[in-house]
């Protein structure tokens, strides 16, 4: 994952566009499917030029095989986590698009799995990751989303010049349900025509400046008795 982060960092460093789609489908019983797409295809010329180097600004540049190897390792670790199944990663190293999909039994188990996998992969001091693990909350009638604390901490570590490079990046957060959405708390959120999905789109730079931009509680219509 550290390699994946290095890989993503390359995207940021190269004043490039990065598009992230964070897509969660919730079932009525609290289980669901998590999809996470990272699209760096707009910057592929620059990424290719960087990958041709051994190092950049004192950091070793991973090879394509190393990136693939670490992604595969990430999948191996994630699929062993409690409550996680059907982990699939599709990495298109020609266009630099990585798609992760997995099923989860509950959002609690999904968050635990992501956090512990990151802990293992990043070798981070555990107190960095363990502070607030509730960035997803499912009550049966509502679904609340925010930004995990460790992402906030990582963002704060970015240098000003790195933050300004995020201006062209997009973060798209989609939540899908099997019953209609009644309302949502974030005024910027859009509800799909079929009323079964909510999308919140923000610019990566704006998000780095205001991490509350993705906070959203989605209220669902009542279940029929």
């Amino acid at each position: 994952m550290k390699l994946i982060f290095s890989f993503l960092a390359l995207g940021f460093m190269l004043s490039s566009c990065i598009e992230i789609i964070d897509d969660i489908t919730m079932n009525a019983d609290g289980s669901g499917t998590f999809k996470y797409n990272v699209n760096l295809s707009v910057s592929k010329v620059k990424i290719n030029s960087v990958l041709a180097l051994d190092s950049l600004e004192g950091k070793k540049i991973p090879s394509r095989d190393e990136i693939k190897g670490r992604i595969n390792h990430f999948v191996l670790v994630l699929e062993q986590k409690n409550g996680i199944s059907n982990v699939i990663v599709d990495s298109d190293m020609e266009n630099y698009i990585i798609k992760l999909t997995c099923d989860f039994k509950s959002v609690r188990l999904l968050q635990d799995a992501i956090t512990s996998t990151l802990e293992e992969e990043l070798n981070e001091n555990s107190n960095i990751l363990n502070e607030n693990l509730d960035w997803l909350t499912w009550t049966g009638d509502s679904f609340a989303r925010s930004i995990p604390d460790f992402t906030i901490k990582k963002t704060k570590q970015l240098k000003p010049e790195e933050i300004s490079l995020l201006k062209q990046g997009n973060y798209i957060c989609i939540s899908r349900f099997n019953r209609p959405v009644k309302e949502c708390s974030n005024a910027n959120a859009q509800i799909a025509k079929n009323n079964l999905a909510v999308m919140l789109k923000t610019n990566a730079y704006s998000l780095s400046q205001n991490l509350n931009l993705l906070e959203n509680t989605i209220y669902l219509s009542a279940l029929k008795p």
Partner: protein
């Protein structure tokens, strides 16, 4: 009489001390030296600008603390009647860098060097100050600012030996992080099968050797003026490395100072050619001892232990290989006139290599609006024959199986290969151009969302900035590359014969096509679609002017020119190394034309001339000198 003799001896010794100038304190370890004579030109340069130069990197930490704010060199207490000598050297165990200068007003000097604290000087008649990693020695009216850095290899060897000898565990190196993660990630040697195996397989240092290293460190610490930590046994790995670093740094610094001041041994005294160079009255001089650069390289050290006689012969071959020259300030330009000196054996190879006729055809492919271009004319066939004549006897004498086997291979290839066909295909003469940045079309993936936020991937065309390069070489045998190109076209559909040129899709950065023009006695590779599609026989009236062609033609084996204002902001920084980027940064914001020419090569020398025609006003010529010194410092370091 005794008293008179004593008085005379004392007077001589004192006058000896105080008659020495800044150039008499350049350490013998220095491999590169820049000596500025006319430093009064620098008086207008602000200290803030000065410390931004790479050769001032050692002082950066000290001088960026605000103490230099708004001050110029004039106010720094430096004596402008003495030379400013910048030096750098890398030995087997450490790097040394710094500069020596005259001091007019010590108190004023310390308004700039205000973080330096006076220390007890271990040397007589020398004041000693230090700040962080920098050390300032003041003897009479000369200041020696010096920084010594032990090489990471040396620090690592000693720190590892001590670490393991204490029964500590293996420390995995965090390849993608910044530093060792010694505390959190130690892996038990028992638990780590691989490590255990490799430890058993490789014969590590004996217990006696390990303890000898530790004793040596303790001896160094005992002998040094500083004891960094008494409780060395309780240190973690990083702390241990830091202690080894600090101890070695102090030890090496002491050795250099004793050699320089007590033993009165300096580079000017040791190298007569440098001594002569320092008598020149140009604005400045520079010196690079390439033979020492070579012999101090790690690969050469390896050769010394494995093939000692070959090592000696190659060392002999490179003896006297020095580059020396002058900086000359003209009304609107500055020149670096350099002379590369070498021995006759090496010179005969260079002479054969550079004895080549300029191929005028290449100028047809250099656009008049280019940002930068170079031509390089050599004759590899002649150089091969000469090198074969000189180097092969050395190799034949070597009694080593792998060398003998290489000799056999070379001799057989020499006998069987059609050298004429080989060198007619690639004789070595080449050219390259940089034509700025153009928009090129690349494919990217976009996501499109429907009204229910389901998304699909769509491939779209997008424009991206791409630097336009052309690289080509002269050939007498276009038919031979053609054989290769035709076969490549059969192997992949991305490689296509377009008639007058070849197109290889996605060849550059897996995104844009590479075009190959194989005609008119040239083999050219470019990503310039306009050149390939519309100008396969050259740019015609859009080529460089006749005057420019003449200039390019009449030089020796190399000609290069860069239009800084067109080039500097367009170069893709990602493709350059950190060192090359430092050089580019140093030229950022500069305008004007820089040209490199060379003379005809003789068996002992080749002359080069690097000229920087600057645009703009002539109000601060010192800045231009420093720009050029800085560029050369980075190149030669």
């Amino acid at each position: 009489m005794k008293l008179i003799c004593l008085f005379v001896a004392l007077s001589l010794s004192i006058s000896g001390v105080y008659s020495q100038n800044s150039e008499d304190f350049i350490p013998v370890d220095a491999v590169t030296v820049f000596s500025l004579n006319n430093i009064s030109l620098l008086q207008k340069v602000s200290l803030d600008d000065l410390v931004k130069y790479e050769f001032m990197a050692e002082l950066e930490q000290e001088l960026f603390d605000g103490s230099t704010s708004g001050k110029s060199i004039k106010e720094s207490g430096i004596d402008f009647d003495q030379k400013l000598n910048i030096f750098y050297g890398r030995g087997d165990e450490y790097e040394v860098a710094g500069f020596t200068f005259g001091i007019k007003d010590l108190n004023q000097l310390f308004t700039v060097f205000d973080d330096f604290d006076e220390q007890v000087s271990p040397l007589e008649n020398v004041k000693y100050y230090s700040s962080y990693f920098n050390h300032l020695l003041v003897r009479g009216n000369v200041g020696i600012l010096i920084r010594v850095d032990p090489l990471p290899r040396v620090i690592g060897e000693i720190a590892d030996s001590i670490w393991y000898s204490r029964g500590n565990e293996y420390i995995p190196y965090d390849y993608y992080g910044d530093y060792y993660q010694a505390e959190e990630e130690t892996i038990s040697a028992e638990d780590e099968g691989y490590f255990q195996e490799s430890w058993e397989e490789e014969e590590g240092p004996s217990e006696e050797e390990i303890f000898n290293v530790e004793d040596e460190i303790e001896e160094i610490e005992d002998g040094a003026d500083y004891v960094y930590d008494e409780d060395i046994a309780s240190k973690n790995y990083n702390e241990l490395r830091d202690s080894v670093y600090a101890t070695l740094q102090q030890e090496y610094l002491n050795n250099i100072c004793v050699e320089l001041i007590v033993n009165n041994k300096n580079l000017k005294k040791e190298d007569k050619e440098l001594a002569t160079l320092l008598t020149h009255t140009s604005e400045g001089v520079f010196y690079l001892d390439n033979s020492r650069n070579l012999t101090k390289s790690q690969r050469f050290g390896y050769l010394q232990s494995i093939l000692p006689s070959l090592h000696d012969e190659i060392k002999e071959l490179y003896t006297g290989n020095k580059i020396m020259g002058d900086f000359i300030l003209n009304e609107s330009s500055i020149e670096a006139k350099m002379t590369a000196n070498y021995g006759e054996a090496l010179g005969s190879i260079y002479t054969a290599l550079n004895d080549s006729k300029f191929d005028k055809k290449v100028t047809k492919y250099i656009h008049k609006d280019n940002s930068a271009y170079f031509t390089y004319n050599v004759d590899l066939y002649q150089a091969y024959e000469k090198a074969y004549e000189i180097v092969m006897p050395m190799l034949r004498d070597e009694k080593n199986t792998s060398v003998t086997s290489s000799v056999l291979t070379i001799e057989l290839l020499n006998a069987f290969v059609d050298k004429e066909a080989l060198f007619d295909t690639y004789r070595g003469s080449m050219f390259g151009t940089f034509n700025g940045v153009k928009k090129v079309l690349v494919r990217r993936i976009d996501y499109t969302y429907d009204e229910d936020f389901n998304y699909t991937e769509t491939e779209v065309e997008a424009e991206e900035d791409m630097p336009i390069f052309t690289l080509g070489f002269s050939t007498k045998r276009n038919d031979i590359p053609n054989i290769v190109l035709e076969q490549l076209a059969k192997m992949t559909s991305e490689f296509k014969n377009m008639g007058k040129y070849w197109r290889f899709d996605n060849a550059i950065l897996n995104s844009v096509p590479l075009y190959i023009i194989n005609r008119n006695g040239l083999f050219i590779m470019t990503n310039d679609e306009d050149l390939a599609v519309n100008h396969t026989d050259g740019f015609g009236s859009e080529r460089i002017s006749r005057k420019q062609v003449k200039l390019t033609k009449k030089t020796g084996f190399v000609y290069g020119q860069i239009d800084w204002s067109k080039t500097i902001s367009n170069l893709p920084r990602e493709i350059f190394t950190a060192e090359q980027n430092k050089l580019l940064n140093s030229m950022h914001g500069k305008a004007g034309m820089m040209t490199l020419t060379s003379s005809k090569t003789t068996t002992t020398t080749t002359h080069f001339n690097l000229k920087y025609d600057f645009n703009g006003t002539y109000d601060n010529p010192g800045q231009y000198i420093l720009d050029l010194v800085n560029s050369l410092y980075i190149i030669m370091k």
